[in-house]
């Protein structure tokens, strides 16, 4: 468990640095963010209270020291106060994000999990059958590894949703549906998440396939695999022995990959007009909604750190060596 404790410490440090960056970036960059925000608030009555709140948020016209502002910022973050979203009628950023978060967690979480399991399995098989026709998969995989997620999303919508009409083209549910916990609504949500989910799976599985294949090729040369085969164990068992060991770098590589996958998945959400964090990100960019941007950066970072922690638990579960050490 020492490993987990160390990782937990690392994630806490990372979270602290993310919060500090969130505080520092608006103050480091030249220009006055409050003026920029006020200039965007056309048609809204700006009260002195609003200006004062923004001044406090970004450290403009304030007598407080930078350190004082910094501790104030921490206090706000720890109380879940991430400011207000100018693009969403000055609703608190935390409320805006809370409405979108379940969609992204559901879609991206499930798609990432499926792509990891599927990609790793395919990678193991491709490595085991090296020299066979399966190697022809690799150029295709290479293409998917290099293509932007959102380009694949364009193609998926055009081909499968518009031309073939198999899937809905946008949003997370029919506009006429009322969110409720009944089968009509749930099946509708599932129906709408299928195509964006598949797009994310196809786009991100490529990396796992290549990663697993490469490690598996090395693992297959190990003596214990040779012995397993020499003992006359069934082929499936031998593959399992090799794959069980080859999967470890993939699990530990999860930390590296998840950032890319989340970024790509958020862009996919945008193309599908999926009401998750990706669409909020676009909204924030288009409306110069700075506090929403900052809030999204924090929440997405925390989510990625949490995913990493889960991957660490899986790693400790899979590799007994990490448990012995103490």
């Amino acid at each position: 468990m020492l490993v987990i404790a160390r990782r937990l410490f690392f994630y806490l440090v990372t979270a602290a640095i993310a919060i500090s960056l969130d505080f520092l970036i608006p103050r480091m960059i030249p220009g006055n963010p409050v003026d920029a925000i006020l200039s965007k608030m056309q048609g809204v009555t700006i009260t002195p209270a609003t200006i004062h709140a923004l001044d406090l948020q970004f450290g403009v016209n304030t007598s407080a020291s930078l350190w004082g502002q910094y501790t104030h910022f921490w206090n706000n973050v720890l109380h879940g106060n991430l400011g207000v979203s100018t693009a969403n009628a000055f609703e608190p950023v935390s409320t805006v994000i809370r409405q979108a978060l379940p969609y992204t967690l559901g879609l991206v979480g499930v798609a990432t999990l499926i792509s990891f399991v599927l990609g790793t399995a395919i990678g193991a098989i491709v490595a085991w059958k090296r020299g066979s026709w399966l190697d022809n998969l690799l150029p295709v995989v290479t293409f998917f590894q290099a293509a932007p997620y959102f380009f694949l999303a364009f193609l998926a919508i055009d081909v499968f949703a518009v031309t073939l009409g198999w899937f809905p083209t946008a949003r997370a549910a029919n506009a006429t549906d009322f969110p409720a916990f009944n089968w009509t609504y749930i099946s509708d949500v599932l129906d709408h998440s299928l195509l964006p989910g598949l797009t994310i799976v196809v786009a991100s599985a490529a990396g796992w396939i290549v990663g697993m294949r490469n490690v598996m090729l090395t693992t297959m040369d190990e003596d214990y695999v040779l012995i397993a085969a020499a003992k006359g164990l069934p082929k499936r068992r031998v593959i399992w022995y090799a794959a069980r060991n080859a999967i470890l770098p993939s699990v530990s590589g999860f930390a590296l990959a998840i950032g890319f996958i989340v970024s790509g998945a958020l862009l996919t959400e945008i193309v599908f007009s999926y009401p998750g964090l990706g669409s909020l990100l676009l909204q924030a960019v288009q409306n110069n909604d700075y506090e929403l941007m900052q809030g999204l950066f924090l929440i997405i970072t925390f989510a990625v750190l949490a995913a990493n922690l889960i991957a660490d638990f899986v790693y400790v579960f899979l590799d007994p060596r990490t448990r012995q050490e103490a």
Binding site: P26, L155, G207, T218, Q294
Partner: protein, 360 residues
């Protein structure tokens, strides 16, 4: 883009039989250097990359029209015709001309980002790996923090606050992308330096009394060349994807880059209305440019770790029978070359995510 998952595990987890031979200056070195371009992956990758570099350099010169030129006053994009090879946008601008004009900025930004990030990763990775101890712990932690933090929302706040000034400055864009993209290379280089540090030839150099700077620059760095090259290509690939994504979001000026064409196409719902000539060419161009970089990276990986090369036997000369025979006795293919395993990495905070954490 889901890139870079595979490569680190290979270079991080496997010994590097080729690398030790590289710096020796013997005739083998020349032989190795000559063998590199023979891999079909490298040849195809290089050819494609050359094509895209040429395209982005001469593209703007040979483009039939200006990318901004408006031809008619109609909101309906026109399909490809002899006048407009790739059709027009909803503003009646020529897609082909936009495509030709869209490569240069992106390649320039990616190249700048690649150079800066590679320099950063060499300095930090080699320092961490060679010094070890507290310096290693701190630098590794820094690299891991940058790796774990998702780049896209960070770039959104950076460019959001930079505003218009940031969105047109190519050098600044390249620099900021490199800041979010150096950590991967630093990790791989650290892992490899760690394993080279304890090789016999480095020990002998120390015993002879060579200066530390000479050991690093003359003994260790040359043996890291393939990994430096691979991390450079990876960063360029990362920058291509990131720049495209930022233009697609409208974070950087979308006129004109391939991501920018997609930005306008998405704004006009090109995917819903079947204007395929508008969004497929730029998307395909990014994907193929990326593919060329991935192929080159694979080629280098196979050079570093020859075991990966065993795949593809069946394609050589149609000798399927030989391939099958080899496959049936694949266990006999275990190389008899004595390969030294890299020393077990200390299980510090980085070990759980290190590519070789479980294998050392």
């Amino acid at each position: 883009m889901a890139v870079g998952i595979g490569t680190e595990q290979v270079t991080g987890g496997a010994p590097v039989p080729g690398a030790a031979l590289l710096g020796t200056g013997s005739p083998r070195r020349r032989q190795r250097a000559l063998r590199l371009p023979r891999s079909p992956k490298i040849i195809v990758g290089l050819a494609m990359l050359t094509f895209f570099v040429l395209l982005s350099v001469i593209g703007p010169l040979v483009a039939p029209y200006s990318p901004d030129q408006i031809f008619a006053n109609s909101p309906v994009p026109l399909p490809p015709s002899s006048a407009h090879w790739l059709g027009t946008t909803n503003l009646q601008q020529d897609v082909f001309s936009q495509l030709l004009a869209g490569g240069s900025d992106m390649l320039l930004v990616s190249f700048i980002a690649g150079v800066i990030a590679t320099a950063l990763s060499v300095v930090i990775g080699v320092t961490a790996g060679y010094l070890g101890g507290l310096a290693d712990d701190l630098l590794s932690m820094l690299a891991n923090i940058f790796l774990v933090m998702p780049a896209l929302p960070l770039l959104v706040i950076l460019f959001g606050f930079l505003g218009k000034t940031g969105s047109n400055d190519l050098f600044l864009i390249g620099f900021i992308i490199s800041v979010t993209g150096w950590a991967w290379g630093a990790r791989v280089l650290r892992a490899q330096t760690l394993s080279l540090r304890n090789r016999d030839y480095v020990d002998s150099a120390k015993i002879i009394g060579e200066r530390r700077s000479r050991i690093i620059f003359a003994e260790i760095l040359p043996n890291l060349t393939p990994i430096v090259a691979s991390s450079f290509l990876f960063t360029v690939l990362y920058a291509v994807g990131t720049y495209t994504a930022m233009a697609f979001l409208g974070l950087v000026n979308p006129n004109w880059s391939w991501g920018g064409i997609l930005y306008y196409a998405q704004g006009a719902n090109a995917e819903l209305t079947g204007y395929w000539w508008w969004y497929i060419p730029p998307g395909l161009a990014v994907a193929l440019l990326g593919t060329s970089l991935v192929l080159l990276n694979f080629g280098i990986d196979e050079f570093i770790n020859p075991r990966l090369r065993a795949a593809g036997l069946s394609r050589r000369g149609g000798d399927r029978k030989r391939a099958r025979a080899l496959r049936s006795q694949q266990f006999a293919l275990t190389p008899v070359l004595p390969v030294s395993r890299p020393p077990a990495a200390p299980l510090d905070t980085t070990a759980a995510t290190a590519g070789n954490g479980g294998r050392a």
